[in-house]
């Protein structure tokens, strides 16, 4: 997925263009009339909500139809407070934010455990519920809404109406965009971008995926609440119709049309949608003269076409003209892990049994992995190797038996806890984030070590921590020989390089045991040679490795010992040569007459 070089603006030109655009926006009240300003206000408030949706949908893959409800919560809470509590309108801002964030935390805690479709339907449920609630509660004025809300003021100047609020809204959008960009270019941002490729990636780096999703959800809801607050003091009038399910659907459409892969997609989407909507309902309405909801039909069709042809929206087409500035990082060695592996067994699997509804997948299996050795787990197809792997890594619970890692009983531990203890792993099908660079993917592995408070991340106050995190990632890249590729997108690497990249990511967690799942699968001969050389070099540095593999020639090169498994039981163990001579093993592989 490499970008074509043609049409690229030079970095200097980009910067000038950006400043010009900003100036044009800031000075807009000077040369634009009231109506265009109101359009811009509308676009910008929608963009704030859309940016939250980009974080939810594009980054963590969660579709929400209920963002309008959170905007409504912020709007009504601040409107009500300004009307009835006699507060200075500026003081209603924290009320608006809390009114969105607290319910989001509760709803999120309940619903984020759901998967895919059910989650969308839950967002639909609360989206509708809010609309009906707002229309029913007398304190919210029912279907008539709240009116006569006082306006914001600064130094005696009243900031009511579209013109007055313009700069406030512009500043609001700028802050939201800035914080979102900061969020994405951070340790937190990197780990949340792995979520849609499978929770196992983040968990293997020691992350609590559920909490991360909840955090992003609350942030998106808070953004929506902020937009609601802006809306309240611009219109100074609220009615539930502005926060209906239809609006929730529209915000989702905006994010998708703009492109959920980038913050700017949210802005572009909001602009494109609002302008098209106005054109259609305004101009064409006159033309047809009757209530013809062209807008609805048009956007329904546009979304259908997008789903069929370009789910990435408009952004990929725009971003061709932009190339991100890339900084090359010099390697920085990480702090050594305090607990040096004990001599003797690093991993001890003792009498482990795993049953799946009556089917015995693993049957009384016992083996040990000694410090500093490379042990290979082999066996015919269906022998239970992946199950054993997942049991050790904590993705499955044993039915009985014990697993000890570094002298501690880890039976029943969650995978992220085992990861933090010192287990690193790779996956059978490579799981990298294709849109992140090589360096960023490796940096994910060091997530647990580089966590920083969220507020610091949002305000870009963690630059030193960032430099350390990326420097340590660069160190691991140098270790595996991929430092020269650090700025490239992971998708551009060959399969062999990607496998090595995954190992670098695992190494960035400072593991004491590496679990490799079929690392040589699908590789060509010379790629396998490179991989073998890497594993041997790691062993010389003292790393312990447990790998599952099929390729006998590869195993012969790297493994010290081999454990053969069939039907979930240990068939034999010993050196390669011993295994190859073992009659039972030959029968297991070649079959019996």
């Amino acid at each position: 997925m490499s970008r074509p070089p043609a049409g690229r603006l030079p970095a200097g030109g980009r910067r000038i263009a950006a400043w010009l655009a900003l100036a044009a926006l800031v000075l807009a009240p000077a040369y634009l009339g009231d109506y265009p300003l109101s359009v811009l206000d509308n676009i910008m408030t929608s963009a704030i909500i859309a940016i939250g949706l980009v974080l939810l949908t594009g980054i963590i893959g969660m579709v929400s139809l209920g963002q309008a409800a959170f905007a409504g919560l912020g709007a009504y809470a601040s409107g009500y407070a300004a009307l009835n509590w006699g507060l200075n309108p500026w003081l209603t801002l924290p009320i608006a934010l809390l009114a969105a964030a607290v319910p989001a935390a509760l709803i999120g805690a309940l619903t984020l455990r759901m998967s895919g479709q059910f989650l969308v339907l839950a967002t639909l449920a609360w989206g509708i519920s809010f609309f009906y609630l707002a229309g029913a509660l007398p304190m919210f004025g029912g279907q008539n809404g709240l009116s006569g809300i006082p306006s914001l003021g600064v130094g005696g100047m009243v900031l009511g109406t579209d013109r007055g609020m313009y700069l406030v809204i512009l500043a609001g959008l700028a802050i939201v965009a800035w914080m979102s960009l900061n969020l994405l270019e951070s340790n937190f941002g990197r780990i949340i971008r792995t979520i849609r490729y499978g929770a196992a990636i983040g968990e293997s780096a020691g992350a609590n995926i559920f909490l991360l999703r909840l955090t992003v959800f609350i942030i998106a809801a808070t953004f929506a609440g902020f937009a609601g607050w802006l809306y309240t003091f611009t219109l100074q009038f609220l009615d539930p119709g502005a926060f209906s399910l239809d609006n929730g659907i529209q915000y989702l459409f905006m994010a998708v049309i703009g492109g959920v892969s980038s913050i700017w997609g949210g802005v572009i989407g909001a602009a494109a949608y609002s302008l098209a909507d106005r054109f259609l309902s305004g101009y064409l309405q006159q033309f047809f003269g009757q209530s013809f909801n062209v807008s609805s039909i048009f956007f329904g069709v546009v979304m259908l076409v997008l789903m069929q042809t370009a789910r990435g929206g408009l952004w990929p087409f725009v971003s061709v003209f932009l190339v991100p500035a890339r900084q090359n990082f010099t390697p920085l060695a990480p702090v050594e892990r305090p607990n040096v592996p004990p001599a003797g067994a690093v991993l001890r699997v003792a009498n482990v049994v795993k049953k799946f509804q009556g089917l015995v997948a693993v049957n009384d299996l016992s083996f040990e992995v000694e410090a500093g050795e490379i042990l290979a787990l082999i066996g015919p197809n269906g022998a239970g190797k992946s199950t054993i792997f997942n049991l050790i890594a904590g993705l499955l619970k044993t039915s009985s038996g014990k697993i000890e890692f570094l002298g501690q009983d880890i039976t029943g531990w969650r995978s992220r806890k085992i990861a933090r203890l010192g287990l690193g792993r790779t996956f059978q099908h490579v799981r990298l984030v294709p849109t992140m660079t090589v360096l960023e993917n490796v940096a994910v592995g060091g997530y647990a070590r580089h966590r920083a408070p969220l507020w610091k991340t949002l305000m870009r106050l963690n630059r030193d921590g960032e430099r350390r995190a990326l420097g340590q990632a660069a160190y691991q890249l140098e270790r595996v020989g991929l430092l020269h590729r650090q700025g490239e997108r992971a998708a551009n690497l060959s399969l062999g390089e990607q496998r090595i990249l995954e190992i670098a990511r695992a190494l960035n967690g400072n593991p004491l045991l590496l679990l490799l799942d079929e690392p040589a699968a699908g590789l060509r001969f010379n790629e396998k040679q490179q991989l073998a050389a890497l594993l041997i070099a790691l062993r010389q540095e003292g790393m312990t490795v447990l790998l599952v593999e099929h390729d006998m020639a590869f195993i012969r090169q790297v493994a010290d010992r081999v454990v053969v498994v069939q039907y979930g039981e240990k068939l034999a163990q010993g050196s390669i040569a011993e295994i190859q001579r073992n009659q039972a093993v030959r029968e297991a592989y070649l079959g019996v007459d």
Binding site: T111, W126, Y132, S261, R311
Partner: protein, 348 residues
């Protein structure tokens, strides 16, 4: 609350409940066979009574022209596929389903506008277009993305609902519609007056549910649809085309939706967008169902209708909030019961 009111509420609950059960079973069947949550079923539901009303006034309903237009688009899509595959395979089906069928429906509807045409003919004509729309809608909107994730399919369904609702406004205007009841008979059980509409709806729902059950249990095509729901690839390997199966279940859903719409017509005032909410509430029951749990889904829908009916009486402004807010724990429960997802549930 006295016995009389209680009787009314129960009747009301059972009536709407029966319809919710019907809708929920249908949505559930469509979802298992196609993985699509058929949100636009609400629009199909209201197109029928509106279409019939227009025919009664001597006008051809817009749904007919929509069918012709979409049929043309579907045909072009098939032609494009044939060009790309360099084969004429399937041209017969394309011509029959996307050109001939809409033309027939159009002709029939035009012929039914006359004042002397018997009511029954108009009734059939009013149903023909909304039913026929469904397989065509599948081809145009969903077939090209039939193997996408459920999330993408859901977004497409929502987009389709959006477009069809807008089309509904154009075709039928913003005014409400109240169709007259079908018979004038009323009688009593004890002290409670029973509405004839109540019996009609109950009877029709029971008949349709029984019909669907018999279809899925005892006919070859019904079994083929079930097989597609259980294992899509396995169905392909025995020669069941998943796209054709999807069109069949969409058509069945269309028939059920049209009949439901006609049954509801006399009960409340229908607007061009009333269907959406009805569909959603019916869906609440569908979520609780599992493939072997038709009775569970039915029970849930009935309970929902009961709840709605009684809360309408006690706290009418909040009745919809209660119904939809309850959806969340239902979804939570359902999601917990569901085994681990095999496909990555992400968008894009």
């Amino acid at each position: 609350m006295n016995f009389l009111i209680f009787g009314f509420l129960i009747q009301n609950a059972l009536t709407t409940g029966a319809i919710y059960v019907l809708i929920s079973l249908t949505l559930f069947s469509v979802a298992t066979v196609t993985r699509i949550i058929y949100v636009p079923i609400g629009e199909i539901m209201v197109f029928a009574p509106f279409g019939l009303s227009m025919l009664m006034n001597g006008q051809v309903p817009g749904t007919v022209w929509l069918l012709v237009l979409l049929g043309g688009i579907a045909f072009l899509q098939d032609v494009w596929q044939m060009i790309r595959a360099r084969s004429r395979h399937g041209w017969r089906k394309a011509v029959l389903l996307y050109l001939a069928m809409p033309a027939l429906v159009a002709g029939f509807s035009l012929a039914s506008t006359g004042a002397n045409v018997p009511f029954v003919i108009k009734l059939v004509a009013g149903c023909a277009a909304p039913v026929a729309l469904n397989p065509v809608l599948f081809r145009v909107a969903f077939q090209p993305i039939a193997s996408a994730t459920r999330l993408v399919l859901l977004i497409a369904a929502i987009a389709l609902h959006f477009a069809l609702a807008g089309a509904g406004l154009y075709m039928f205007g913003p005014d409400g519609l109240r169709t007259p009841g079908l018979t004038g008979v009323a009688f009593r059980i004890g002290l409670i007056p029973i509405n004839d509409q109540f019996l009609l709806i109950l009877g029709a729902c029971v008949a349709l549910i029984a019909g669907m059950y018999l279809f899925f249990e005892y006919t070859l095509y019904g079994k083929a649809l079930r097989a597609t729901a259980i294992h899509r690839r396995g169905a392909r390997l025995v020669g069941i085309d998943p796209d054709s199966a999807s069109q069949v279940i969409f058509t069945i859903a269309g028939v059920v939706a049209v009949i439901s719409g006609l049954l509801i017509g006399p009960l409340t005032t229908l607007f061009y967008d009333s269907g959406f909410l009805l569909g959603l509430k019916g869906f609440a029951g569908a979520i609780l169902g599992e493939l072997a749990d038709y009775p569970m889904a039915a029970l849930a829908a009935l309970a929902l209708a009961g709840l709605e009916s009684f809360s309408a009486f006690y706290a009418s402004e909040y009745k919809d909030v209660i119904v939809f807010a309850l959806l969340i724990p239902i979804l939570l429960y359902r999601s917990w019961r569901q085994p681990a997802q095999l496909e990555e549930e992400h968008f894009e």
